[in-house]
Subunit: 188 residues, 6 copies
């Protein structure tokens, strides 16, 4: 019988496991239970994903989660999810959150534990911990693999590099300034 549960075999794309061999392990994940190490990044925040890569049973189901931890003052820098809307719930602390519309309007708010905020599909958004204690948020996405691009890293640390002239024109900065940003984001 054809299964109604399309659990990934992790070969040849995302094929489906027979129902008989599907188990609760395919649908659960414990990796969001502990805070990420916010000292491991220069921005003071750390994201941990619970996507189809960690939960095979999410295959074809169009949803996933992530946890983000923030040191005091920590920032989850501007990024996009190419395939998903996100919605975040503050687990603890206080966050300034915001997204920018295609009309270049910033929609932002400061939210505390238990409050939620929506980041519409594909739009640039960010969060930062405006409190003096650690903060944490749980985000959900309507994609099994939302496809995150952290914009400063994408632009200045891609490999091969984005042509320097493109960055200079985009930000109206000189080659020295481009190199300085690259050095700081991607130290040799």
């Amino acid at each position: 019988m054809i299964t109604s549960l399309c659990v990934s075999l992790r070969v040849n794309g995302f094929a489906c496991k027979p129902t008989a061999t599907v188990s609760e392990a395919d649908f659960s994940y414990a990796g969001l239970a502990t805070a990420g190490d916010t000292n491991s990044t220069v921005v003071g925040s750390k994201a941990s994903a619970a996507t189809v890569e960690k939960i095979p049973g999410l295959n074809t189901l169009g949803i996933s989660m992530a946890r983000v931890d923030y040191a005091p003052g920590g920032v989850n820098p501007p990024h996009t999810h190419s395939r998903a809307t996100g919605i975040a719930f503050v687990l603890e602390g206080t966050l300034e959150v915001g997204f920018i519309t295609t009309a270049n309007k910033l929609i932002s708010k400061t939210i505390s534990a238990g409050e939620v905020f929506v980041f519409p599909r594909g739009l640039v958004h960010f969060q930062r911990n405006t409190g003096t204690t650690p903060a944490a948020a749980l985000a959900a996405f309507n994609s099994q693999l939302p496809g995150t691009q952290s914009l400063a890293l994408t632009l200045f640390t891609a490999s091969p590099a984005v042509p320097e002239d493109v960055l200079e024109k985009a930000f109206q900065i000189g080659s020295n300034e481009v190199d300085k940003i690259k050095d700081r984001l991607h130290p040799k």
Copy 2:
């Protein structure tokens, strides 16, 4: 200019607000910050939704959230979401969670704070607090209005009533037993 943000005007279906009048209030919600009253139901659990009905900016975006609180021993009884897959994150306590496949196999697990579990689209599922302290979970759905049907209530308390003969045949019980369940679920 046509907006890229389809915030509901709440008239005539879900039409869109002009971008200029959209604000952060359309994308945020504080109603999940406090625990629901688990004494208000006979099953010892209480769900609070954060759907497009509460967050107008979710309109067309295909995602929403809910919080469920559970007294010790409390149960979120078997239900379906007709339009969504759900994924739950345990905020506190310990829950036995499970869903039944279309091959009538129960997939279940006991999970604790920080763990997540997936409830595939449309399948019957439940949670219960197996601990001795209150528990809470945050659920996300890939629909702006997931469409919940709590099955015992749907079958035994709908108005007008589901024909008694249908319930008798479905559960292979007599009319007395049907009436007893109705009385308890829907006391006059």
Copy 3:
């Protein structure tokens, strides 16, 4: 050349057959031509499906059919299709049909041969033969595999069993009553 017909090879999920090897057998099915045996079930109805499991050419096309036969007084007990809206056409006889909305309102009607009725996506619904002769209906679904859950069977005969406490709280019945229903639905 890549085929435009994604007929299942029935290996490794639903891959596609080369066009050259596709034939009319992939797109037809004779299994709905004869009435199901309504004596084979305790509820007096029998469903026969014509899904992608029977018609390989339905793969990726998002539609399927089923035939349901009903003895006089027979019931197709409350069930859901997790992935589809259904629409039924009465082939013969008279049926009382209905679904319950998420606002717990029963929408029902008695229909005769040639009449159609819609069961919106994922909602609990049922039919019963209110006539004194056999009845039959043809249903169509907008999914190649609609995913049916007959609710009493799902709740009381899943394997492993749904925790007894969950059923007791959901229906507000005692352990004796749970066992009685289980025995009748799933005799040893």
Copy 4:
């Protein structure tokens, strides 16, 4: 409260009715119960549709039905449904049914009462009654309004007319032959 049933108000596109005013009449239709008049067309067949235009409750649900009746020798001439896959069930009689793939291969079969056949999304297809008695089929579509184009009528009777030169080149026929077909399909 926002309804989960998007029944058309038939104003301003397809807006939704409040749940409270939705009734069984929005979800049922009796218009397929009687055979269409196969003498009313030159091709000896007559189609009757049960789409969102007849069943307001189908709005947003992505499914509809139609009944086609065929005189002996009658033909449902080659046509497409621009938005849907179709699946047909023979109610009575014997039909030769077929579709042509994008590789220009005809997939066809003769089917009798109770048999089903699939017409993949958008592909040109036809049926004809190869028996000596009337035939009838019930078709389902995975669109609330499948969008039918009967090809000979579309090409030769559109208003304004398709440029004569386009038809001459397409069919490699002369202006006299184009006019003859037009006259027969669309007698003045």
Copy 5:
């Protein structure tokens, strides 16, 4: 790691290549750079496609392109794309373009270099070069493989052949006329 780029391996349907082996060759195509040979067809036009068959990186992305060249007086005869809306941009020359609605209304216009025209999903449409010099158009489709059926060829040159009686009834022509069209479109 699971790739976010589902480049086809061209085995077993459209599976995905690991990101590490994806290159710019998977996302580019030079085959539309030169005009098609409009002398190679009886209708005076020639289409060249840039679909997933030519650009493996288009797999799952839902878009493709085609170039059509037209001799003076050349016609791209009435056809459908079973899975896509098309939008055409005139590269050079002057084209009369049109589609027919399901209400049998022709919507047409003469457009010149730099102008665009839309052909809604699945509807019959055509173009012809009304100028005295060659013309060319670039079309885009919202499908990776739009599925084209040129209607006269589909109806009169499919293999096996569409039953002659079906064509006679559809176009209200005799067997001689059917054979004449077949001979001209598909010379032996």
Copy 6:
């Protein structure tokens, strides 16, 4: 009768026009025929869109186009389309085009007139004119309104402004450098 063409009435979201009032003007656009003024921007490129805002008939059809003109050395700076995959065809000149994957790999290529390149949904991408003459490209998107965010402008010129601290942390630059970029991109 319900129209099959959902042409916007431009009131209350995107409602549909009756078929009788739909005309060819709803499906065509001449605004891409002339080159944009590449002197009007600091980056030496100018984009002109042909979306549902310009072509009402595109409503619900999921496709649109744009033309981009580039001065010699001009750059279309890194940007995203939040709702669409893009595919570009070079009308004239030579462009270096590229996108960055979610694994931070640059996929790029230099293409000339007649060549096409794909920019997968939501990913950061750019083009620049590497030739000594003007260049132009025609892009198609699988959305009626693809939702463009030019990243440097989004980050440094949104109103209200993105918090300075967020930009400093994201790019690892000081407040002076943030202000310098803002001044150049958004001169007072």
